[in-house]
């Protein structure tokens, strides 16, 4: 698809995060406000500098953004509330990028926020498979089972992903679960949807993340430190699932292709990746969808340690959803915090030396393809 307008360059100039937790006694508005304040401080901006704000969430009620910013005394501002399942946060970053790239605003704020209870996520959906019990863990479990059958992938390989992400989390003070775990512990934990065990599932969580984006003109005028958005892709497949290949995340592939093409880069150019590991099994499948390896070779990537800190393409240095938990609307935005810290060289304890190019991937929805997948490529220097 050829671009019909010239898009100007846009960068992230500030990030903020409230570590994910329970927050039983804190309102969702106050959780979000903490992230907004942190991101404004990081960008060294005032409230009046923000022209446009997008709030991503699933379950926090109408006009959430207005409620949050009114409480912070923001002046007149354009506000959009956005829902796109578990890819809401990343979709919001994409919308802000587009609005700035298309010269509608110079500075935008994106906030992802969720306050959640325990248990399976409930979707208001007429999906016939969901009604029959095809919940998210079942979908990933069936993908994993087929992958094992076709490519010889083992339960240990999936477990190693959970172990790796905890190792990364042990060096991230913002991660919620930081104790090291072993492959044996992962495999022995309670089965949820075979072969997925408890320690291979992300937990529900509450929390917020925020990023500030600005146009190139603004950045030059105000001397801000940019992490550029080089590519962005968004994809949904809404098929009847006839002959659906469950070893292939088509929407991940499509969104990644859009982002790579726009950036003029390929998977071989990436230094770091934050991807949607709602389940350890999903992380392996997304390696292949993002082109980090060929189809069927995800297990080899794990076995060779390529996606660990110190490997050739470290994945989920933040600890991923598996270690941070998954406050739905916040998850996609929080990935940008980690990538920006890494690209700035300030991710103490888990820093990838000389990281220049990073990729964020998030995915959600009812059904593996009838959802949304967003991929963003960031670059610095």
């Amino acid at each position: 698809m050829e671009s019909v307008v010239n898009l100007r360059k846009v960068a992230i100039i500030g990030v903020g995060l409230t570590p994910f937790d329970n927050y039983n006694d804190v309102s969702s508005e106050d959780i979000a406000r903490a992230a907004v304040i942190a991101a404004l401080k990081d960008a060294q901006l005032e409230r009046r500098d923000i022209q446009y704000a997008i709030f991503a969430h699933l379950y926090q009620g109408e006009v959430l953004g207005q409620r949050v910013l009114r409480g912070l005394g923001f002046p007149e501002i354009s506000i959009l509330n956005l829902e796109n399942a578990c890819a809401s946060g990343s979709s919001a970053v994409r919308e802000a990028w587009l609005a700035l790239a298309a010269e509608q605003f110079d500075v935008a704020l994106v906030v992802g926020i969720e306050k959640m209870a325990r248990g399976l996520i409930s979707f208001v959906s007429a999906d016939v498979e969901l009604a029959l019990g095809n919940v998210a863990p079942a979908q990933y479990a069936m993908c994993a089972r087929r992958h094992m059958h076709e490519f010889g992938t083992t339960a240990e390989m999936f477990a190693q992903i959970a172990v790796k992400n905890r190792q990364h989390a042990s060096q991230n003070p913002n991660a919620r679960f930081r104790d090291l775990i072993s492959v044996e512990e992962v495999l022995a934990s309670r089965p949820i949807a075979e072969p997925i065990t408890l320690l291979e599932c992300c937990r529900n969580g509450s929390g917020a993340a925020a990023v500030v984006l600005a146009s190139e003109n603004y950045i030059r005028r105000h001397g801000k430190d940019p992490v550029w958005i080089s590519g962005s892709g968004l994809s949904s497949f809404i098929s009847d699932k006839q002959s659906l290949d469950l070893t292939n995340f088509g929407a991940t592939r499509a969104a990644a292709e859009m982002a790579y093409n726009m950036a003029g880069l390929g998977p071989e150019d990436l230094d770091i990746v934050e991807l949607h590991d709602a389940f350890a099994q999903g992380e392996l499948l997304h390696y292949e969808g993002l082109g980090l390896c060929k189809k069927g070779e995800g297990g080899r990537l794990v076995h060779d340690g390529d996606t660990k800190l110190g490997g050739c393409i470290p994945v989920n240095l933040s600890g991923g959803l598996l270690s941070k938990s998954h406050p739905l609307g916040a998850t996609g935005v929080a990935q940008f915090s980690e990538l920006v810290w890494q690209l700035r060289g300030t991710a103490e304890g888990r820093q990838v030396e000389n990281a220049k190019i990073g990729l964020a991937h998030s995915q959600g929805g009812t059904g593996l393809e009838a959802g949304a997948t967003a991929v963003t490529i960031l670059s610095r220097g």
């Binding site: 029959l132 019990g133 863990p137 079942a138 069936m142 089972r145 087929r146 089965p191 949820i192 659906l244």
Partner: protein
């Protein structure tokens, strides 16, 4: 929309045993995708044989209770088993 006869036989494409299920279901439950004629792949409940489920195995369709509705009445649907 047209009706298409699907026969009673199918081939198991993939499956999982769910130990945590939405309200109304009694876990553990076996669910999976079964390949029918003409390239149709359907999500369905399964009735595992005593020897366990194996991908590629032939399964036969019957109707049975899947879950309880809000009035504790059985909801019937397709179940593929040996």
């Amino acid at each position: 929309m047209t009706e298409v006869p699907i026969g009673r036989q199918g081939t198991l494409y993939t499956y999982t045993i769910l130990h945590q299920a939405p309200e109304g279901f009694q876990p553990p439950i076996a669910v999976g995708y079964v390949d029918l004629c003409d390239g149709i792949r359907v999500f369905t409940h399964l009735s595992p044989p005593s020897s366990g489920l194996t991908l590629g195995m032939t399964l036969t369709l019957r109707l049975g209770p899947l879950k309880k509705d809000e009035n504790q009445q059985d909801v019937y649907g397709p179940i593929y088993g040996p």
